[in-house]
Symmetry: C4
Amino acid sequence: SAKGISNARVFAPYTVYKGKAAFSVSPLLPTFSKIDSGSASLKVDRRGCMMLTFWPAVGERKYDWEKRQKFALSPTEVGSLISMGAHDGSEFFHDPSMKSSNAGQVSKKLYIKALDGGNGYMISLTVTNNILKSNERFNVPLTTAEFAVLKTACSFALPHIIGWDWLINQSRNDMAGSPSKVNPQLLDLEWDK
Amino acid sequence: SAKGISNARVFAPYTVYKGKAAFSVSPLLPTFSKIDSGSASLKVDRRGCMMLTFWPAVGERKYDWEKRQKFALSPTEVGSLISMGAHDGSEFFHDPSMKSSNAGQVSKKLYIKALDGGNGYMISLTVTNNILKSNERFNVPLTTAEFAVLKTACSFALPHIIGWDWLINQSRNDMAGSPSKVNPQLLDLEWDK
Amino acid sequence: SAKGISNARVFAPYTVYKGKAAFSVSPLLPTFSKIDSGSASLKVDRRGCMMLTFWPAVGERKYDWEKRQKFALSPTEVGSLISMGAHDGSEFFHDPSMKSSNAGQVSKKLYIKALDGGNGYMISLTVTNNILKSNERFNVPLTTAEFAVLKTACSFALPHIIGWDWLINQSRNDMAGSPSKVNPQLLDLEWDK
Amino acid sequence: SAKGISNARVFAPYTVYKGKAAFSVSPLLPTFSKIDSGSASLKVDRRGCMMLTFWPAVGERKYDWEKRQKFALSPTEVGSLISMGAHDGSEFFHDPSMKSSNAGQVSKKLYIKALDGGNGYMISLTVTNNILKSNERFNVPLTTAEFAVLKTACSFALPHIIGWDWLINQSRNDMAGSPSKVNPQLLDLEWDK
């Protein structure tokens, strides 16, 4: 059964359903790989992110999951979100094909803007596809309470998406193995190179 | 013994006893179920909550647990509580039989209001039963210190009641199983559907 | 070796050494006991606390551990500490023999006071022994940075000293045991008694 | 494989690359040792720190890792960083050979200063070597978002670098071993010596 868990994928997004679209957020953890094939040491292979997903309403309380669009907030973009004050705004631009031959075909813009009166935030995703000449826009108003969940959950997740819970878990495992001689990180002191 | 723990239920509410009533709060974790019978993947079956319990004083330092009433704060309602400023108030309305044929028979109202002078909060639960023609009210004044415990403990619990600690635990288990090839979530990138 | 760890006691206080006294803080976790002998369910037997220890300087950079005095902050007192603003003060009074026949023989007073100019805090413990006619006082000035460590570390520890990490660990163990049927807490819903 | 993990070292720094230098931060956990050879009890042998690393740009998007310099923030220095307001500054001075015969040969100064207009911070490391008559300086401007990641990640890491996650893990292990009789810390009460 432990093995069953080990291979299990767990889905636990925080989701809000509003008039024109639904919005969910879920952490996507980093991946690690061995530094070299003979080594037990690991480095982050791909940094984690907070995955935002938007999908449109297509009727009363009906939403079309097939038309979903995603936006992956990097750790630094998460830092921007969690440091937003009650009257601030943030904008993020992504090109999912950046650095490939398809660069510029699709662009994604995420806006987060405080609503007038300080009663929450509007979160909007625009996806422009220059090949298909399409332009999709999702607007989801978040209450102050929903935004507080988003900030608190993102603050919780941030150390995990940068992989720091692994550093800490590592030490715990070291400890279990040999309580009297721990933490090879010790070798890496301030005055070392 | 590990097995004993695995089936154990742990009770650790944070409780305050005041003149007219006692109040306790405890996180109630989400439940998960397999996405389909052949799969090891899990989804949240029922979101967690913060369970608030009130029970009346029936004499000096005597409280009647049999007369307790409960109010389950959803994750978004927890977001509302933890974002309350020193002079704010919150109101929540629940119908425990919502969407059933008994809807409207019982209604519960929770008020949280800053006390004059900023010296804490009044937290009140009113339970109205339209069949029994009964109306119960619990008033519990919380000091600034007690409310700080409530906010800090709720902020800690929030990621857990939405199930995000499971996402993170999952990755840890993946890692233990195969350090060089991890995190199937990788397949679910920003530009995927 | 895992067994060795299981019985190990770990000492990791956060300590500051100042001119007249040293001060350390360390969390003391709650203890649990079975609800009844036949049950696997556990309840908090004794709530945890933050244990503050003071001991006097007896020479340049020399401190006398034998003359230490302790003060155990309850969860609510920790709430008071972590909600202190830059210009606030807190006072706590304890009688270690409260409710016993020795009540009133020894009293302990802890003061935390913002320093003029907002450059940190003075933390003072006074222990008065009416039998021995003794009165000991420890004064430790904390910088803003040291107080930030104290607040951050106490905020981290608070959910643990009230035992909520156990609630969460419990669910994790449930999960490992049977991924498709979890969390007996489910039976305890808002409308149950 | 669990054993493999136990000996693995994990690298997961949070890194920013700027025009003149790159900057990374990573927690370095404390080490523990047995209190005496016959005992299972452990004490912190060396406190953890947040390790900051700077290395210079040597061309467009090229950085020279061989020329890196490190600065180890102590827990109290981390407290200083995480309590910085939007217009504050911090300065830290280290002598890596302090208390040895090489004291004074090398000095390191770390400055963190809010940028005009509140749009982020400048973080600077100066390493002066009086023997080699060398002086190296690294300037890395951090956006508000990057500094928020730094603060959030350091706040997360602080309890871990002082070793408090071990205190908590210990109790969990105690529990697994004997659910009905836990926490030897109980013996160490407020009125004990």
